[in-house]
Amino acid sequence: MNRPATSASPGGPKYDCIVIGGGHNGLVCATYLARGGRSVLVLEAAESVGGAAATREFSPGFKVSACAHLLHLMPESLIRELSLGTHGLHIVADRMPTTALSEDGYPLSLDVANPGSLEARSSADAVAYPTYVARLQRFSAALQPMFETVPPRLGTDSWHDRLALLRLGLRLRGLGRRDMRELLRIGGMCVQDLLDEYFETPLLKAALGFDAVLGSNFGPRSPGSVFTLLYRMAAASAAGGTLALPSGGMGALSGALAKAAIDAGVVIRTGAPVERILVKDDRAAGVILESGESVSAGTVISNADPRTTFLRLLGAEYLDAGFVRRVTHVRARGLAAKLHLALDELPVFKGLEEEALRGRLLLAPSLEYIERAFNHSKYGELSAAPIFEITLPSVADSSMAPAGNHVLSAVVQYVPYRLATGGWEQERAHLTGLLIDTLGHYAPGLRESVIAAEVLTPEDLEREFRMTGGHWHHAELALDQFLMVRPVPGAAQYNTPLEGLYLCGAGTHPGGGVMGVAGRNAARQVLRGEAVRGRRAA
């Protein structure tokens, strides 16, 4: 094994690897590196690890997952390999159903095995639905293995790259003629066109189109929104295709990841924000903390978003101008906000059975409604009719709220990062009122049961979770920022133009969503890179 020489400023402690940022990807990466025999230090700016997978008390006694609020993309293999179960991860709600809320009192279940509510609306849709789901699942299953690999580089002589491209091609070919043709046909389409081909029920189409636009800068009529849907389904398929809630919220997942890391020998320091990455002889040599302390390491892996990593922590002067131009062009404008409500009773949604409250509720009556909500955000305006993805974690997990009380956690789209007129401070109260009123149309009486309310705009998410633009994925997930061009060519294989500096965050392949795969892939690439250098040196 070849360990790169580390010779930064004298005195400071020395590690093989420093991971900047203790988000879930940072912790996953650190654990795999430590298991690979490296001494690893994780530096987290906040007082606790976890990044956007965090649990927070937003009102006395009421706790909520402050950013991501569902565990549904982390592969079962990763959970197993890291023994997260033995490190304290306990799932309180599994296979959570998804229900589309309806103002007229007839909500729609999206459970394929439970087609009753769909049959009541359209027998044709009830017939088409299983076909649609099966086909998209075949596509996503074919795409999924791509998530686990380091994206191949284009136009190189490397067998590694050629093999990866060949595998990708074979996998698509393996779908067979009909399915492959269909995948190529729909791959760049907008999700509304696809859903219009299959279905007639507006509520069903809205619920299915919801996942295509959630967390993205897309409306249902945006080209490429089928791609984002397949992408999400592919990630979910490795996670068992199930929505889950960890006991104690997403922070508990981070707690388990941290325990797994420590168990593997990782040293974690919180409250240790990094000021910049040290460069020596044109390679990463460690970091300097905001406190002025410097720590040496031969390899630095950044869990921060690409813009922060390259332009703030490293600095343009260590990079080529063309590369910097590409980094500045990475799109990362968040459009998703979080709403947290402390409630003194369980809300009653029109026509909804109590059993459905342990699942995921979608508020979006039609694709047109979603598109109209999106329209406003394009111009920096607040939509008067936003869309919601709602969970009530306290239903399954009593630790989240005082006895008899409940918490509601919702992702709200489309809330612009920056308003065209005025700042968020003037509009915050208006936004909170608007969101509660909108929910009130579906759950009369909700307003009266609100004890406390908190809204986190993309700007708040940016500040709190240190994500440029407040975007969950650090970089928009779209065809042009995907696989070997994510986040930018030249940094799409986790290594960067600066030797010894790697990326492991959501801005890299295959993206965020509390998946952890980017962290695992990055660790593999770090270990592989050292092996290659070792062979060269030998």
């Binding site: 600095g315 343009a316 002067e317 080529d320 101008a321 063309g322 131009r325 030249g490």
Partner: protein, 404 residues
């Protein structure tokens, strides 16, 4: 109403502040476009103008050179990351010839960097570069502004140029060493603002460049013509200058290389190592755009190299293909610039050669096409790889220059 000065679609080329004066002296009415301006190609005859460069003094309108003003706290760091040379070693009052590359180490353009002050520079280039400069400015506290139209310039070159400028009244010009810049006044010619004078040029000879406000341009021109009347001073066009620059071994963008930003075909980009400009690349100064790619190229060895050729006969080898054998079966390169060198009495050329064939003294064959009263003939001429520059008189360096 249309005015002469306003650019218009029917008059797409701009006129420099010297245009009226030049037109009056341009006997053959030979104008060519250059960087958006109409400029003189030939005033009288190319030969007369060329010999003014080498034997007395020539005046060339340099105004179309694209000029950028670069200021700000990080101006030095910005330029040091932009170009391949070490700008931290360029003192205020000095000028440096530089190239800059894209990420792959391919040349975007060459130009001169004038350090006007601690945090103020002027960059002169052949092509417009604002886009690349602004992209390169990300992360630096620096202002980049194009000032092409705000600064008029004349290049005064030739063995008697220093004496002529002294006679004009530019005090202290004889103290300028090569690549120095200084300031002087010309109150006798009604020029109140200080003129910037730099000992720079594109002829490989003794010479200076005078940088002025456009409003002073005609007064400076008139002064030069007046003082130069008895000193064989001649205004020259681009054609004569081109002969001198080939003799000096200087490269012309879009002739000897194409900017990496403009190439479409793979393999037509050129790196500074390939253009024989390795001496401009400082790998020790820290990072600059293209450094990692150039390091790799250096360790791999360049695939081709720009060389100087001495070709038998007296027919310029314009665009000639070069072969390893007289039969012309194995091509090993091609000529980018060619001229008969009147001072060297040699038939010279700059050529791009494939890597394994580059050794000084090596013979290759140039395929020259001759037009003999519309009857075309092909001639295979022996060509020898020789050192550049082809012409480098001692007077270009001597300070103070000889007084005439």
């Amino acid at each position: 109403m249309l005015t002469e000065s306003a650019p218009h679609y029917r008059q797409p080329l701009l006129k420099t502040p010297f245009h009226d004066r030049a037109r009056a002296l341009c006997q053959v009415d030979s104008f060519i476009p250059w960087a958006g301006y109409t400029t003189v190609d030939v005033f009288t005859t190319v030969e007369q103008e060329y010999f003014a460069i080498r034997n007395s003094t020539s005046v060339y309108d340099l105004t179309p050179m694209v000029k950028y003003r670069i200021t700000g706290r990080d101006a030095t760091r910005f330029l040091n990351r932009l170009v391949t040379r070490d700008i931290t070693r360029l003192r205020p009052g000095r000028v440096a010839y530089c190239v800059w590359c894209d990420d792959k180490g391919h040349i975007i353009d060459d130009g001169t960097v004038f350090r006007l002050g601690e945090t103020e520079y002027r960059l002169c280039t052949g092509e417009r570069q604002l886009n690349w400069l602004l992209d390169s400015a990300v992360g630096f506290e620096v202002d980049v502004a194009e000032v092409t139209e705000d600064v008029a310039a004349l290049s005064v070159q030739g063995p008697t140029s220093c004496a002529l400028l002294k006679a004009l009244g530019l005090e202290g010009v004889e103290c300028l060493k090569p690549f120095d810049l200084g300031y002087s006044h010309l109150p006798t010619w009604g020029v109140e603002a200080p003129l910037m004078v730099s000992r720079t040029g594109f002829t490989g000879d003794l010479g200076y460049e005078i940088w002025m406000r456009p409003g002073d341009a005609e007064r400076v021109w008139d002064g030069l013509m007046e003082v130069g009347r008895d000193r064989a001073l001649r205004p020259i066009g681009s054609r004569a200058l081109n002969i001198a620059r080939i003799e000096a071994g200087f490269l012309l963008p879009n002739v000897d290389f194409v900017s990496a930003e403009h190439t479409l075909r793979v393999g037509t980009e050129r790196s500074p190592l390939e253009l024989g400009l390795a001496w401009l690349v400082d790998f020790e100064k820290g990072h600059f755009t293209g450094r990692r790619a150039l390091l790799e190229e250096k360790s791999r060895g360049p695939r081709r190299l720009l060389v100087g050729l001495d070709i038998e006969g007296n027919k310029p080898a314009h665009n000639a293909l070069l072969y390893a054998d007289r039969s012309g079966k194995r091509q090993v390169g091609s000529v980018t610039s060619a001229t008969w060198s009147p001072t060297g009495k040699r038939n010279i050329a700059l050529a791009m050669m494939d890597a394994p064939h580059i050794t000084t003294g090596l013979n290759v064959w140039a395929e020259i096409y001759l037009n003999r009263e519309l009857v075309w003939e092909r001639r295979m001429a022996r060509a020898r790889i020789v050192e550049r520059p082809f012409f480098a008189p001692e007077r270009r360096r001597v300070t103070p220059p000889a007084h005439y």
